[in-house]
Amino acid sequence: MKNWPLWEVFIRSKNGLHHKHVGSLHATDEEMALQNARDVYTRRSEGVSIWVVESKHITASNPEESGELFEPAQDKVYRHPTFYELPNELEHI
């Protein structure tokens, strides 16, 4: 049998927080994906809002290119507040 499409599930655990990836599931359409996500991932009040996205629509970065993507940020210490030297007696800054 053909597998049903795969969906990724994102849940907001309470208002004020981001939706967070919690896992995946199979469903025939978006409505079934939402219903199944409710049953599989929120049986103990883990969420107040659910997003489902068909997995094939997600574009992910390639771990082999992590160097090019993320290393340039590593030598830019001047983007952090502690880079700037100020006297200790100074307050509220």
């Binding site: 049998m1 597998n3 049903w4 896992g23 025939t28 359409d29 079934m32 049986r43």
Partner: protein, 322 residues
């Protein structure tokens, strides 16, 4: 060749540094295969594990016990789904996994090939079988493969209710009439040894252990986990006023652990090979559910395809008229 070797060295260095391996990261083929085998067996165990307990849902002694058992069995289904999803991140196909279970090619935990004869068995299964599973699963929350570890965290959170509901059933029976207490003792007698076997062959006999430890898929050996389980279960049995069916059980001051009797490995291998009391019934039930659900799966897919076709056509006709 050199390239593969350095990839493998980098991989092992990451594992040694406790950096989790994620789905798209490079990994040795054997690591991938080992994980697919282990995670899918684990998933199958959750799914088959619903059968011995589902057996008692309609006969639970009261509504409180019934809702708890229903919720527990529903959790097992959920745990199976988390684990199948984790296996799929490694390239396994869901339907292929089902077929491997149904054909008997894939294994699941042999404990589920024992029958649940009385209500006390539901207590003993929750207390001992879930207890043993938790011991293994707590270790696996720290496994090196990210998606497996995350599934385990969710599962462990949910499992602790399973074990407590089982122990509560045992406690109620143990404090009940002499007949009820005898029923609890009988269940303990039958589930104790199979529960110890759940940790798998002894370290000397275990074929996959050394490599799995090196890759940090496992972090404790079968025998270590088994000893840990024996040590924590004995006081729990004493609290119930029940006797563990092992005449060699004795506190060993020197080791700081209980010594326990020899496990009947012949029985273990016999059940693994398919000759347990319920092996055939379990596979038959899974095949029946799969085959009889086929038209539902196909109809749901056909319905979704039709809806998407209608939606698509409406959009193009709106465009034409608009």
């Amino acid at each position: 060749m050199d390239n593969i070797k350095s990839l493998e060295e980098n991989f092992q260095a990451k594992v040694d540094a406790e950096i989790k391996i994620e789905a798209k990261d490079w990994m040795p083929e054997k690591y991938r295969k080992t994980l697919i085998r282990q995670i899918s067996q684990h998933a199958h165990s959750e799914i088959v594990g619903m059968l011995p307990e589902g057996n008692w849902i309609t006969r639970a002694p009261n509504l409180r016990r019934k809702v708890a058992l229903l919720a527990k069995v529903q959790d097992e289904a959920g745990h199976g789904l988390y684990l199948y999803s984790a296996a799929e991140t490694l390239g396994a196909e869901r339907d292929q996994l089902f077929q491997d279970l149904n054909s008997g090619k894939a294994k699941y935990s042999s404990i589920f090939n024992y029958p649940t004869l009385t209500w006390a068995d539901i207590g003993a299964v929750g207390w001992l079988v879930d207890g043993a599973a938790i011991m293994n699963q707590v270790m696996l929350t720290r496994t090196s493969y990210g998606p497996y570890a995350r599934a385990m965290v969710k599962i462990c959170k949910e499992e602790s209710f399973h074990q407590r509901q089982g122990y509560e059933i045992m406690l109620t029976l143990a404090k009940g009439t002499p007949e009820q207490k005898a029923m609890a003792q009988d269940a303990l007698n039958r589930w104790w040894w199979p529960s110890l076997m759940m940790f798998g062959p002894s370290d000397k006999e275990s074929t996959h252990s050394a490599q799995s430890m090196k890759w940090k898929i496992k972090r404790k050996s079968n025998d270590e986990l088994r000893q840990q389980f024996v040590d924590i279960s004995i006081p729990q049995a004493e609290f119930l006023g029940l006797t563990i069916p092992d005449k060699d059980l004795k506190w060993n001051e020197e080791r700081g652990h209980y010594d326990f009797g020899a496990i009947d490995w012949e029985e273990f291998w016999n059940v693994v090979k398919g000759n347990g009391i319920c092996n055939k019934a379990r596979l038959k039930a899974r095949n029946k559910a799969y085959n009889e659900g086929k038209w539902v799966r196909e109809a749901a897919m056909a319905y979704a395809e039709k809806q998407s076709y209608i939606k698509h056509n409406q959009m193009s006709s709106n465009k034409a008229t608009g």
